[in-house]
Each structure stands twice: as structure tokens, then as C-alpha cells.
């Protein structure tokens, strides 16, 4: 199975994401922001970083990169897409996911192991978890506060589209402690903390992030 990992100018975590894809048993395919060709991938990861320097708003300029046109079209057709951190911001700016990520309530850039609870295991990115499992993976961002209007929040909660929630103190002011959400179909998932940095205890706080990458293999093989 081929999982594409997009590199934008300013992406930081594309190599770790590709490594995590390989650790999960799939082939990682490098995709380039300026190339609309998705090279036959079965799924796409938008990695973390500071694409286009976070100028204007995080993800606002990346959203119009040539590769995003193809990804938006395929995502609307059901292709699995995972956006991590900056990737989550790009998915919101692309309107593939509702809401927006705004500056952390405490103003500081955060970089810390964060406990989250996986609440929806019906997506292709979370199927290898057990529902309600608490995991610890790195959280590192300056604009991670998930915001949306009351109506959208009620919709996300009502449709069980909150896929992960922060456990304990709210790290960034996100509404309802939201750490990750999915689209209505479930194929597009955005996650603020970084599972790709937690696939091996040697290089991360845990290996708790690995199931995101084994899930996608299972989801595609199972088709």
C-alpha cells in the first residue's frame, strides 16, 4: 500500500511521517507541493511544520498549492487523508474539516508529551486502537487551539467526529478538549499532536502513535 507524504516549503515532519508509514508496514511516497500528480497513492499524510512560514494564517497559503487541488478532489471521493498539526491546519483551511486552529490560549509554543484519549476507532486512521484508549504522544505547536461555532461543535459531538481528546488540563484552549476530528465520512482526519514522533520508544515518549500507521494499512488491505 502506498501512502503519500506531502512536502511543502517549510514542512518539518515529512521525514518522520514517512518513517512512521514504513514502520506501519506501508510504502511511503514523497509528494511535492508544486506537483499535482499524486503518483498513485492510496492515502495521503499532510505532515507538521511551518508550511510557507505560517504566513497569513497557518495553512492558508498551502491550501492553494497544486498538490492540494488533487488531494481535495480525492479526499471528497473517499481517499484517506491524515493531517497532523500543520496538516490539520491545512485541512481546516481547505474546508475538508470544519473549524479552525488558533493561537494557543497561553500564547506559548508548546512542546510536551501529551496524554490524549482515542474516542473514535471507526476511521481508517484509528481502527487499530481500542475505543477509549489513553495514549501519550508529543504535542508541539503554537496555534493548536481548536475553535468552531456552537452549531459545528454540537454536530461534531453528535456525530462522534471527535476522534481524540486531551486528557487532564486543557493545553491550548481547544473547545471541548478537542485534539482531533474527522469529516462526516471519516476518511479525513486532523490531529494536533504528533503520532509520527511516537512510533519507537528510542526516539519518542512512547510507541503509542504507531497504530495510526498500522490502521491505514489494515483499512486499505481490508478493501
Amino acid at each position: 500500500m502506498k501512502v503519500g507524504v506531502v512536502t511543502f516549503p517549510g514542512s518539518l515532519d515529512d521525514r518522520d511521517a514517512a518513517r512512521a508509514v514504513r514502520a506501519g508496514g506501508s510504502e511511503a511516497i514523497a509528494l511535492w507541493h508544486d506537483d499535482a500528480d499524486l503518483h498513485g497513492v492510496d492515502a495521503v499524510i499532510l505532515p507538521g511544520g511551518f508550511s510557507y512560514g505560517d504566513y497569513l494564517r497557518c495553512g492558508a497559503i498551502s491550501r492553494f498549492a497544486p498538490v492540494m487541488g488533487s488531494i481535495i478532489e480525492k479526499a471528497n471521493g473517499g481517499m484517506p487523508v491524515l493531517g497532523i498539526c500543520n496538516g490539520f491546519q491545512i485541512l481546516c483551511e481547505s474546508h475538508l474539516l470544519p473549524g479552525a486552529l488558533t493561537q494557543n490560549q497561553g500564547l506559548h509554543f508548546l512542546c510536551t508529551p501529551q496524554k490524549i484519549k482515542v474516542e473514535n476507532i471507526s476511521t481508517p486512521w484509528t481502527s487499530n486502537f481500542t475505543e477509549g484508549l489513553e495514549i501519550v504522544i508529543p504535542l508541539k505547536n503554537g496555534e493548536g487551539s481548536f475553535q468552531c461555532d456552537d452549531e459545528t461543535l454540537a454536530m461534531l459531538e453528535g456525530e462522534s467526529r471527535v476522534i481524540a481528546r486531551y486528557v487532564g488540563v486543557n493545553p491550548n484552549g481547544s473547545r471541548n478538549l478537542i485534539a482531533g476530528i474527522s469529516n462526516a465520512r471519516g476518511n479525513v482526519v486532523g490531529l494536533m499532536p504528533h503520532p509520527e514522533h511516537a512510533i519507537d520508544p528510542l526516539t519518542g515518549p512512547s510507541a503509542d502513535g504507531l497504530p495510526f500507521f498500522t490502521s491505514i494499512l489494515n483499512a486499505m488491505v481490508g478493501k
Partner: protein, 81 residues
């Protein structure tokens, strides 16, 4: 020459941590007038000659598409001499 100005503000219900930090810093400097501060963005756009109605409409579309995120922000487009 006149220029087109787009001002973007976070919606009132969206928390503005930067504005809050500024509001907290002012009294430390002896400026005690503010009950609240909100921080926004201002874009100054130059065009050849004076802006036309069509150009202003186009700028509005650009503001909606790129300059502002309507999920969390509002914007106004105006002409300044």
C-alpha cells in the same frame, strides 16, 4: 494615490490571546485607559489609478478566499487616500 485597505479581525467570540497580552501590558506601562484590546491584520493594496467598483468586488472575493478565514474572522474593504 488611493489604495485599497482590507482589515481583518477575529470574530468577537473567538479568543484573542495576543490582544489579551497587549491589554495586560498596557497598565504595566501606566496606560490605564483600556478595558479590552483586540488585535487584527491590515492589508494595503495598491492598484493602477484609483480603485474601481469591480476591483473592490474582486478584493472582497480575495479577502473571503485568502486574506481572511470566514470561520474565525471578519473583514472590511475600504479605500483610503
Amino acid at each position: 494615490m488611493a489604495k485599497i485597505v482590507v482589515e481583518v479581525m477575529l470574530k468577537p467570540e473567538i479568543l484573542d490571546p495576543q490582544g489579551k497580552a497587549v491589554a495586560a501590558a498596557l497598565p504595566r506601562l501606566g496606560f490605564t485607559f483600556a478595558t479590552s484590546v483586540r488585535q487584527g491584520k491590515r492589508f494595503e493594496i495598491e492598484v493602477v489609478g484609483d480603485p474601481t467598483t469591480e476591483q473592490l468586488a474582486e478584493v472582497s472575493r480575495a479577502a473571503e478566499t485568502l486574506l481572511a478565514n470566514p470561520v474565525i474572522e471578519t473583514f472590511v474593504v475600504k479605500v483610503e487616500k
